[in-house]
């Protein structure tokens, strides 16, 4: 999929000489050992880990050219990245690689540190807004790398992504370095995305506004992995960290898509007693979960497990006994955070456990089905969740390619048009999830099954569903919206989109 001329550019980047182009969702065969190197540690009993950040930066010897990492579990409420980067900048350190499990709009505040050369490279799942624009203006020293959640864990564990210092925002942390995300005024829930960093970074620093003098009862990341603890007044704005309530779509077209998606699922063998599923936390995914819940009640089915990000709706099903257990790498609202803290059936898992393709069996491999959204899809079922129709950075691969690859059946729920723009194209602007791992597209104008999945198509016959081909849906989209002019893109690349196995599935162009 990636033009060889771009691969040549990519292989010229120091450290990327052996990068391969994507050649299939299950083609990569890992070799060698899994363990990335990490310094041996020793702390005398009685050593106080709680220090100022200034002291810590000196103690760990942070210097130009190193890689610092952060998790994104504080989402759009995060204040830790700014605090840490600003303190680093004041020491005159430059040329850092920023490795974040993702970057939200709140991180626009980091722009001055990009412009002044404090940060010159980015390794993330997503980037948007001002940082996205900076990247697409060619502001970095080398192309940004966009990874999936599972792919990032893989890169860390194999040593491909070496983190010199990981700064972990910790809503609750004791003096010994045990920390969790479910307590404190800035609770964010699961710290799954920080776990690979904590396990493999050379230095691990907890940044907390909830320091406890006594050992924590609930431990997400243990003291054995944490070198230092530093305190701040606030690690973030709770309003941006977690929402207070679930958003269920009220849009009639979205509800129609959700109902179709649930009908598709219910018509296949993947809907069975003791099924395992993943729903996103968007309004349409929650609406689909609502219809599936109804179908489960009618059939007297329960789900053996839910996997993936958790919202209040999932918690409700867990409490009702409709989901027996939940494997949770991140939480979206207060109900989910509270459930993780109190419900023994609700388990916190790391990004690696969730989705690392080079492990014995990531949790996504359990999935009977997953319901995912998309920014764009094309007639080959390739999905874009990273850029908009003009090629501008907008979202993040997140766990999309991971869940799609792991699940027995992957459904994409998506409106055919957004405003005047068709979302079903001949070719997506950016390939993030390959079409071979996408099975069904559900839109308000009809349902298309990937021709690879004749078994699913057979199940859906005679069920009163508006089945059609993806080509016919594409024609409909063009008829309603008109055919858009092809997007003119620059030959200069400013980012690479990495598939979960480390191969390059697409590139991001300068804009």
């Amino acid at each position: 999929m990636v033009d060889e001329k771009y691969m040549e550019q990519i292989r010229k980047v120091p450290g990327w000489e052996t990068k391969q182009a994507f050649s299939g969702a299950y083609n990569a065969r890992p070799e060698g050992t899994r363990m990335a190197p990490r310094p041996v540690k020793f702390f005398r009993p009685g050593t106080d880990k709680v220090k100022s950040l200034d002291y810590i930066l000196d103690a760990i010897g942070l210097k130009d050219g190193m890689t610092i990492s952060f998790h994104h579990c504080l989402r759009n409420g995060d204040a830790v990245m700014l605090y840490v980067v600003d303190t680093i900048a004041k020491k005159g350190i430059k040329d850092l690689t920023l490795s974040a499990s993702s970057l939200s709009k709140v991180q626009d505040c980091l722009l001055p540190y990009f412009e002044s050369g404090v940060i010159t490279a980015v390794d993330t799942s997503g980037a948007r807004s001002k940082l996205g624009s900076f990247i697409q203006k060619g502001g970095l020293k080398k192309p940004a790398i966009f990874r999936t959640h599972g792919g990032r864990a893989r890169a860390i564990e194999t040593g491909e992504l070496h983190i010199d210092a990981s700064f972990i925002a910790a809503p609750a942390c004791d003096r010994f370095g045990n920390l969790n995300g479910v307590e404190g005024k800035s609770a964010c829930g699961s710290l799954g995305y920080a776990m690979p960093d904590a396990e493999y970074a050379d230095h691990v620093i907890a940044v907390t506004d909830g320091l406890s003098d006594t050992p924590l009862d609930y431990v997400s990341i243990p003291q054995t992995q944490v070198d230092y603890v530093t305190t701040v007044d606030s690690i973030g704005d709770p309003a941006g960290i977690a929402t207070g309530s679930i958003r269920v779509s009220k849009n009639p077209a979205e509800l129609l898509i959700s109902r179709y998606a649930a009908q598709v699922i219910a018509a296949t063998p993947y809907f069975h007693d003791n099924m395992v599923f993943q729903f996103g936390s968007g309004g349409m995914a929650i609406a689909t979960a609502g219809y599936i819940r109804q179908a489960m009640l009618e059939k007297n089915y329960t789900a053996a497990a839910g996997v993936g990000g958790v919202s209040g709706f999932h918690v409700q099903m867990l409490k009702e006994g409709l989901i027996k257990t939940f494997y949770d790498p991140q939480d979206f609202d207060l109900a989910a955070i509270d459930s993780l803290r109190t419900d023994i059936k609700h388990h916190e898992i790391s990004a690696s456990a969730y989705a690392n393709p080079f492990s014995a069996c990531p949790y996504v491999n359990m999935l009977d089905f997953t319901v995912l959204s998309a920014t764009e899809i094309d007639v080959d079922f390739n999905v874009n969740v990273l850029t908009d129709s003009y090629g501008k950075l907008l979202g993040a691969p997140g766990g999309h390619p991971d869940a799609a690859a792991g699940a027995q059946m992957t459904l994409i729920t998506m409106p055919l048009l957004r405003g005047r723009l068709p979302m079903l194209l001949d070719h997506v602007t950016t390939v993030v999830t390959p079409g071979e791992s996408v099975d069904v597209l559900v839109t308000e104008y009809g349902i298309a099954v990937n021709p690879r999945r004749t078994d699913i198509a057979e199940c859906l016959k005679g069920k009163g569903l508006p089945l059609t081909s993806i080509e016919a849906l594409r024609e409909k989209a063009v008829m309603l919206s008109g055919k858009a002019s092809p997007l003119e893109v620059s030959d200069k690349i400013c980012g690479v989109v990495e598939y979960r196995d480390g191969s390059i599935i697409d590139v991001i162009h300068e804009v």
Partner: protein
Amino acid sequence: MNSLYRTMFFVPGNAPGKIAKAEIYGADCLIYDLEDAVSVNEKDAARDLVSSFLSMYRPDCRIGIRINGQDTPYYEEDVRAMVPLQPDFLRLPKSETAENIQQLDALITKVEQANNIPVGTVKIACSIETALGVYNAYQIAKASPRVFAIGLGAEDFRTDMRMARSEDAEEILFARNQISLCAHAAKVIPMDYVNSNFKDPEGFKKDVAFGKMLGFTCKSVIHPTQIGLVHEVYTPTDKEIEHAKKVVAVYEEAMANASGVIALDGKMIDMPIVTRAKDVLAYAKAAGKEI
């Protein structure tokens, strides 16, 4: 496309997004509204929009257009602009007398002829919204062979009758009965009124079921969520279909054996019961159910 008119879904003629998406909800019929949904300063724009859309694309269902009333300056231009698009019908608001319908019939004929469209292609649905209209319902239904449906415009009717709206619409019961009776007498479709409370699905379903009991076979709707509810009520259930099949089978067997007395499960079967059973099966088949 099925042959039923269970739902007539109003789509504002001045809302491009809603016009483009309207067909997805599965209504048997879409009515693009040039009247109440469109403010006076957007009448031209709405006419142009509906015209452009239908010239380019034809949704896979019945198509109607609610034109502005004959007492407005927009009426004639609406008819001249819409008839060439060959919708299944025009819906005329404030139909009060047979003369109203004959006047529209004549104008449609002129436009059809001018555009080489076979005369009679575009039908008329009459919206009856006044006391006089309800009183004249049968004459309205019989005013032209183009008339294929009549229905009550409840809000305007209440205003004309100085009625307050009650929760269970008790005040319009007589008018609903009259419309249903006159429609059946004239062999046209009785259209039940618009219930605008789409936030109360249970109350809406009760209202639709009550309308069905009064003889209505079609409901005008204004919100996508109402469409499925109407279809659910109007479409025969599997149990009703099974019973109808048994009635028809018993009847046909009796006919074949020249038997005088026909009974099913100990109950006498007479001709009206057989006719109703055949209607149920025909309706179910038209609604896409397996018979």
